[in-house]
């Protein structure tokens, strides 16, 4: 158990380590990467199984009791996030098995991938504010390395924007972590939650938490501080964009969910602000997407709008709404990553990612069309795919609490999403290729990528068709978040569950 609790960080770290050591041996690095990602996935699944049996894994690292030592704690939400991270990591590693291109860069991809995964998993399992900062930095530097991967003027430009804006965000996080300690005397999230829930937090602590939420909001790309995302995501190499799209913003969302549910379990002022922010995020994101004419630009803006849904769930604060946010989180990571993967394959086949220059894939690659349709429809919330349930729960939660306008925005966003997705569908798949059928390239270079997208699409369908257990899990996770007795116990009674 003790090993299992740290395994989500441990496995990517070891993989990273072996990758660094084996750097000159490109093929071996790829194999190691694949194995590492697969192991992480297995660990994630095991953790989910444990969490589903209502086990909250909590470990005091180094054996130092909380709040002095760092707590690692894996509840339902964390377990699910780790599992999804493993799956997306595995998909990216699969996609990264391509042979075309600079072998050094491909090798570096696998190394940095695991750096990123270590950071992401660390952020998911830690129960300590400053430690969260540290793992955020790990994933940040991993993402820096990844976004620049492959070089070129355009990519570098996007990298610059991404780096500078994220550095600012990260510094704000650091400051707020300091302020948290300064105003509450603790860095332990559980204790922080107890202080707030007991009403003992000074106004300064509120300020600190608000500041921290702003930094998370930047990471999560919420309105109005999302500008960095659509300015940079579209320049990266496909699996990198996919990883970012799937995982990175969600770490911000995860952190927001974690902190907000801990410190403010009841609907209040902060939630009201979040509600407005969520709605604005949904709308602006989806409108921004409608104005785009390139696959990844459309998808990038959609990340923004979709994050709005998750924050909507968080803002509503009811157990059902939180469950919706959790479900949305799980669903969206899979779907959005897959859309980027598929977009990349489509771009490779058609030779461009500008919609105008694409086309003809419906006829030439019908399987790709089906594989695209699944996540695209899911994103738009078409039943019975995963996105429908996510959206349904949020709409229901909004309406149940009387926030009909929020539900309206959510639904309106849905129709615009459908518009964007069908735009890509029409232009990329249905329309004939402007340069004729011959311009479409079909080879088996991407065969590993196909495994990745097929697997993710299957997951989307599964989460949709088999929404029962997943929803049950999400609701139970929301229950844990709303009433984190176990969480507090795990922290205040080290070693206990």
């Amino acid at each position: 158990m003790k090993a299992l609790a740290v395994a989500p960080v441990f496995i990517p770290l070891i993989t990273l380590l072996i990758g660094i050591m084996l750097r000159p041996y490109h093929q071996q690095v790829k194999v190691v990467s694949l194995v590492g990602a697969a192991l992480l996935t297995l660990v994630g699944i095991r953790l989910v199984a444990l969490a589903n049996a209502d086990v909250v894994l909590a470990v005091q690292l180094g054996g130092w009791e909380a709040p002095y030592g760092i707590t690692v704690i894996i509840d339902r939400l964390s377990a699910a996030m780790v599992a999804i991270t493993g799956i997306i990591g595995l998909a990216a590693a699969l996609y990264g098995l391509v042979r075309e291109g600079n072998p050094d860069v491909l090798r570096n991809f696998h190394i940095f991938l695991h750096g990123l995964l270590a950071g992401v998993c660390g952020a998911f399992i830690t129960g300590d504010v400053f430690n969260l900062y540290v793992w955020f930095e790990v994933l940040l530097i991993g993402s820096f390395a990844l976004i620049a991967l492959g070089g070129g003027r355009r990519r570098l430009s996007g990298t610059m924007t991404y780096v500078v804006l994220n550095l600012l965000a990260t510094l704000v996080f650091l400051l707020s972590a300091g302020l948290i300690y300064s105003s509450t005397g603790t860095l332990n999230m559980g204790e922080l939650g107890l202080i707030f829930r007991a009403g003992e937090a000074p106004p300064a602590a509120t300020l600190a938490v608000v500041m921290m939420l702003v930094s998370f909001a930047i990471k999560a790309a919420l309105f109005p501080v999302f500008g960095w995302l659509p300015a940079s995501y579209h320049v990266a190499w496909t699996p990198v964009s996919a990883l970012f799209a799937g995982l990175l913003t969600k770490v911000g969302v995860y952190a927001m969910i974690r902190i907000v549910t801990l410190v403010w379990p009841e609907y209040g002022q902060a939630h009201e602000v979040l509600l407005w922010v969520a709605c604005a995020t949904m709308l602006v994101g989806v409108l921004g997407a409608a104005a785009q004419n390139e696959v990844r630009r459309i998808l990038s803006f959609h990340i923004v709008s979709q994050v709005g849904y998750m924050i909507l769930g968080l803002a509503l604060a009811s157990p059902l709404a939180i469950a919706g946010a959790v479900f949305y989180l799980i669903h969206h990571i899979v779907v959005k990553a897959n859309l980027f993967f598929i977009g990349g394959i489509a771009a490779r086949m058609t030779g461009s990612e500008r919609l105008a220059a694409m086309g003809g894939l419906y006829a030439k690659a019908p399987w790709l069309a089906i594989l695209f349709a699944i996540p695209a429809l899911s994103l738009a919330g078409i039943p019975p795919l995963s996105g429908f349930w996510a959206k349904f729960v949020l709409v229901k939660a909004s309406l149940a609490d009387g926030f009909w306008w929020a539900a309206g925005v959510a639904l309106l966003t849905g129709i615009f999403t459908l518009l964007s997705m069908s735009k890509i569908w029409n232009e990329t798949f249905l329309k004939a290729h402007p340069q004729g059928e011959k311009a479409i390239r079909i080879d088996d270079e991407m065969r590993w990528g196909w495994w990745a997208i097929s697997g993710l699409a299957a997951m989307t369908v599964l989460i949709g068709i088999g929404a029962g257990p997943v929803m049950e899990y999400a609701i139970a996770a929301a229950g844990q978040l709303a009433d984190p007795v176990v969480y507090f116990q795990a922290i205040t009674h080290p070693g206990g569950r």
């Binding site: 002095y68 750096g115 300020l207 500008g227 409108l287 349904f392 459908l418 069908s422 049950e472």
Partner: protein, 907 residues
Amino acid sequence: MLTAVFAIAFAALLAPPLARRFDDRAGWLLAAVPLMAFIWFVMQIPVIARGEVVTATLAWVPALGIDVAFRLDGLSLLFALLISGIGALIVLYAGAYLSDHHHLGRFYAYLLIFMMAMLGLVLADDLIAMFVFWELTSVASFLLISFQHEKAVSRRAALQALLITGGGGLALLAGLVLLGIAGEGWRFSEIDIDAVEASALYFGIMVLVLIGCFTKSAQVPFHLWLPNAMNAPTPVSAYLHSATMVKAGVYLLARLNPVMGGEQGWSDILIAFGATTAVVGAVLAIRQTDLKRLLAYTTVTVLGQLTMLIGTNTTYGLQAFVLYLLAHSLYKGALFMAVGAVDHSTGTRELSRLGGLLKIMPLTGAAVGLAAFSNAGLPPFFGFIAKEFAYAGLIQMGITGWIVTIAMIVTNALLLAAAGLVFIRTFLGPQGHYPREPHEVSVPMWLGPMLLAVAGFLLGAWHHWPETWLVNAAVQSVARGDVDVKLYLWGGITPALITSLITVALGVFFYRFRHQVRLQIARWRVFWGVSGDLIWDRFLKRVFEFAALTASAFQHGSLRLHLTLLSLVLSSVVFISLAIGGPALFTGGDYAALNTPAVIGSILALAGASAAAVMRGRLALVAALGASGLGLALFFLAANAPDVATTQLMVETLTVVFLAFVLRSMPAIPRVADEGAISRAAHILISVLFGLAVAGALLVVANVPLAGNIADWYVQNSYPGGKGGNVVNVILVDFRAFDTLGEIVVVALAGLAAASLLGGGQLAEMTRKGEPEFGSVLLRQAIRPLAGLLVLVSLVLLWRGHNLPGGGFIGGLVAAVGFILVVLTFGNYQARALMWVRPTLLVGAGIGCAVLAGVIGLLGGHDFLKGLWFFPLGLPLGTPLLFDVGVFLTVFGSMMNMMQRLAGRPV
């Protein structure tokens, strides 16, 4: 029921391989599936007619109370029969119609998916399950309309249909959710009607549900997608856009009529929209010269009429609704299929080119004739009874009814004229001019229309059959109370009969003078202006314009603007928080006294930073930055933080080194000032605000006494627990070693990332003699021992770090400084020869040590990163030391890695 739905879904999956294997003969195989479903439903007729219901439930999302709950009652059965029956015929028909199409399998699949969805829709008792199938029909419809995807019009039509029905679907979802909330249940059959009527949500539910139904059933103003959808292959038009899908909206209206129909508003809206739709559809229909479009508009009309009939909520009205629904499905399905056959056979659907086909295509002609009669509402066809009841239903309503009746008469007359056009103009009269040599079509193509048309006749002629077995149960499902159902062909001279006669007369008149009518209608230009696709296009254009405007507000591509926004948001969040807290936040602090070094450090830090802010030379910038860092280190020292101060010094030194090497290839910064005074003022303002925000936040927070005793615990436990005297270091390598683990990963990745970004090309560029600036003999002679000293010092720092200032970080940084000196003076090659191992391996080894230190605890049955100590020869060795060695190696290796890349000369 579940089996039927799943079997069809399964057939859809099988369709492509089957079609590949058997070509168009696959249709016979595939049609067997809906046929069997049809037979099963037929077998349920007696059960349902007894007033029973058949249910089947499959748990889906129990956590939300949502199941795939099917419930077969009269209304569902009626629809299920139509869907499966016509479906089977359509599958057959499609096989023949598209026999030469290379994606026939795909077509079958879509068609069967649609069939499955439609069946699920009408069978579902669960609100949400119904919605799931509802949306699936939209998607399947999209795929079918865009089947001929190479045509731009098809794509546009498909998108239009998807957006309109999809948008409506979302409104419907909201409506259903509200209904579920208000009705305290997720089953149609369990909704608490009284609760819904009493609910404040009633109006909202109604509007939302109606939007959903109206979009799906092509009610004005959402009707425009339906005619455009005729771009789909004819089997699609026949099935989806006449017999089934468009009826989904009507179905739901009927299904909800018992729940929602209690309020007058419901009826009024349905009648108003239904009537308008009927009129618009009919008027537009008569204008068409394309047979298929003509039929499409008549479908719009009928949908309007059906809506209107539900709205009547009278005995006759609801009976008429059921009858009409059945009749229309039969004859419209037949007509569409027949038109498709004509198109297939002659190569045209233009009225002006058609004529005299009866001799060539007698079977098709016969089917069309029968269907057209039913369409025209002539006795003894089923259509007649339907029309009769419709009039009766409207008349029952009183004044409103009469007004609407007029609409009904006009539209029915126009429909009659249209039916005339279809049959008379196409099959009678002189031979037309055809692109192809016409011929009678194959069996699957005429079988469908013929069966449907004959059914229309039979049901009319032997109307007690449907009355007993179908209509009664269906009407009971639709009506709010019990309704006495009695069908008749001849009910005496009733107002309804008279109205029927007027209709027929008017219809004949319209047909006779169709050219004049068309001319007359063509004059109503305003009407065309608002009803066409123009609005749609304009609407979409506006939407995209607005979207572009929104996007451009955030997609300006300027880093400065992004930063400005971020900064303003951050500042304002702080200021708002401060404002809420009020001035009390800033008073009553327990401040530690100032000390002079801190003040000096502070001044130096600020002065250096300000210098960097205004100077433009590269060197000046770097020097100012260095001074600032020095000042900060002094402050740290004054704050009794020697480890931090040392680290700051090291880091500042390396910052200067790296900056110097990166900046040497760059020119001085051309201009420091902004372009304009306003821009400059804004620039200053934003910076000042941000600075104030940071200062403000810190002031407030430092103003509260520090809660908790954590700090004390660390001091008390440092030696007994962590075996170290340097509390900071013990925290780093033991108490909070997990932080440090993450941190060295950052450092390691930063080095690798810089290397990856800069590539290795420049590494080789570096001269063997080192940097020219360091080529001095004196330096070369002196630096070797100095570097050796530094490495020695670094090892000492590492060793003693647990008890005195130092440790892995500082040690690693000092060692790096030593090696950087070597690199600068003797070049990379010598440095690497000296180091004999590449930096990345050092980094790997470092992380390895740190992880190993963590794992040892784990292997010993303790927690990860547990510090274990043993004292060989009295030396304090332990896993924290190993961890610190890992830190040392990682930092050292990574710094070397960075140096090698950053110091490379520009290419």
